[in-house]
Amino acid sequence: MSKKRITAVVVAICLLAFGFFAVEAQAIDLGDILKVGGIAFLVSQYDDQLDSFITSALGERDAAAKGATKVVPILSLGGGGYVGAAQVVGNPENVARVKAVIQVEGRFGSGRAQLLVPTTTDKATGSPDRAKGVGISAVIEFRI
């Protein structure tokens, strides 16, 4: 095989590979965008319903929290996207200030750790500013 032919084959393979990965990357991005947008929509639509659903479900089991509650979106730190929702609980004045929960996730072997930080901002950038006197009561995963 001549050198020209080898070069052409290599270039063709590279182009194909580049095209394949470009399409794949675009598909992932589109899916993520749809998912993030869907979660944002669901949280805004169902936040109050979810809050009362969780509170009444726990109340039926005599396990409701005696404090203010609210459902807010969970934002992934770094990614910045909406990955779910959480019911936060605490003192009424502190809960009222919470806009989101920042999720910091880490993996170790077959284990994983998830730090959930209620914050007064709805941006997942920099170090999360924890809202004092507020914790997590429930985590909501959406089926999208």
Partner: protein
């Protein structure tokens, strides 16, 4: 005729009194709770709506709330039996005083707890005895022994500390409306944290979960684990509710004022 009537009336009155006392005793429900007094967390033991014992100090490694639970259990254990006023007694024990019901030690009172109430162990034991008697429908026993009474309550002190100088029924803190109703709002702003196991068998496979709970130290001390409850919300979402609990049992005994800060799990077995 009057003589004929007198005997049945006396007998009827005596029977009525006995039944009334028995009814009061049997309907008395023992409970305990955490409360805030003078800016610090305390634990209260109640018979019905009446606070009979207030615990302020940790003893033998038990927090005030853990002690309150033990005391409540002991009181409950003594409740099914008929208890006369004489059965509720204060007696000296080594280095302190004991409050007994039907010869069962309900609570031991030592110097640190008495100091926290600005009282002597004897005076505090007698106060609690009178509170128990009052809650059971008996008149408070008069102070006994040569022990000096506790100093009068300082200005602004809760009535519970100075109550032995007055009839317990008048001085009981449970008379106030705030005390009779459970606190609607808990302090969620504590700084204590600890990791506890998550109880759940609902996820695919077997995972060992841990949760970091945070809240006021007294409440966090009580948390033995976090109960994970899985709920389906319509067809769009799955809810994992996390309930800090004080006992590992099928009954969810939530510890108020404590919430989850972090979650971790390790997959032990996938299937």
């Amino acid at each position: 005729m009057q003589r004929r009537l007198r005997v049945p009336i006396i007998v009827a009155l005596a029977l009525f009194s006995v039944l009334a006392i028995a009814a009061a005793f049997s309907s008395a429900e023992v409970s305990f709770r955490s409360a805030e007094r003078d800016g610090s967390r305390v634990a209260e033991v109640l018979i019905g709506d009446r606070i009979v014992i207030v615990l302020r100090t940790t003893a033998a490694g038990y927090t005030p709330l853990e002690r309150a639970e033990i005391i409540a259990n002991r009181l409950r254990a003594s409740m099914p039996e008929d208890v006369n006023a004489e059965d509720v007694q204060v007696a000296s024990i080594e280095s302190g005083q004991g409050l007994y019901v039907s010869d069962q030690l309900i609570v031991a009172i030592y110097e640190p707890e008495a100091d926290a109430h600005k009282a002597t162990p004897r005076a505090l034991a007698e106060l609690w005895r009178d509170n128990v008697l009052a809650a059971l429908g008996y008149e408070a026993a008069s102070p006994t022994g040569a022990e000096p009474a506790a100093p009068a309550a300082a200005e602004g002190e809760e009535a519970e500390e100075g109550a032995e100088a007055e009839p317990a029924t008048e001085a009981m803190p449970s008379e106030s409306p705030e005390a009779t109703t459970e606190s609607k709002e808990f302090d969620w702003t504590g700084t204590a944290q600890k990791w506890v196991p998550i109880f759940s068998v609902e996820r695919a496979g077997l995972r060992l979960g841990m949760a970091q709970v945070a809240g006021p130290p007294v409440q966090v001390d009580q948390v033995k684990g976090v109960y994970q409850l899985r709920l389906d919300f319509k067809s769009i979402g799955r809810v994992y509710a996390y309930v800090p609990v004080s006992t590992i049992s099928t009954k969810i005994d939530r510890v108020q004022g404590v919430s989850v800060w972090a979650l971790a799990d390790i997959e032990v077995l996938g299937f």
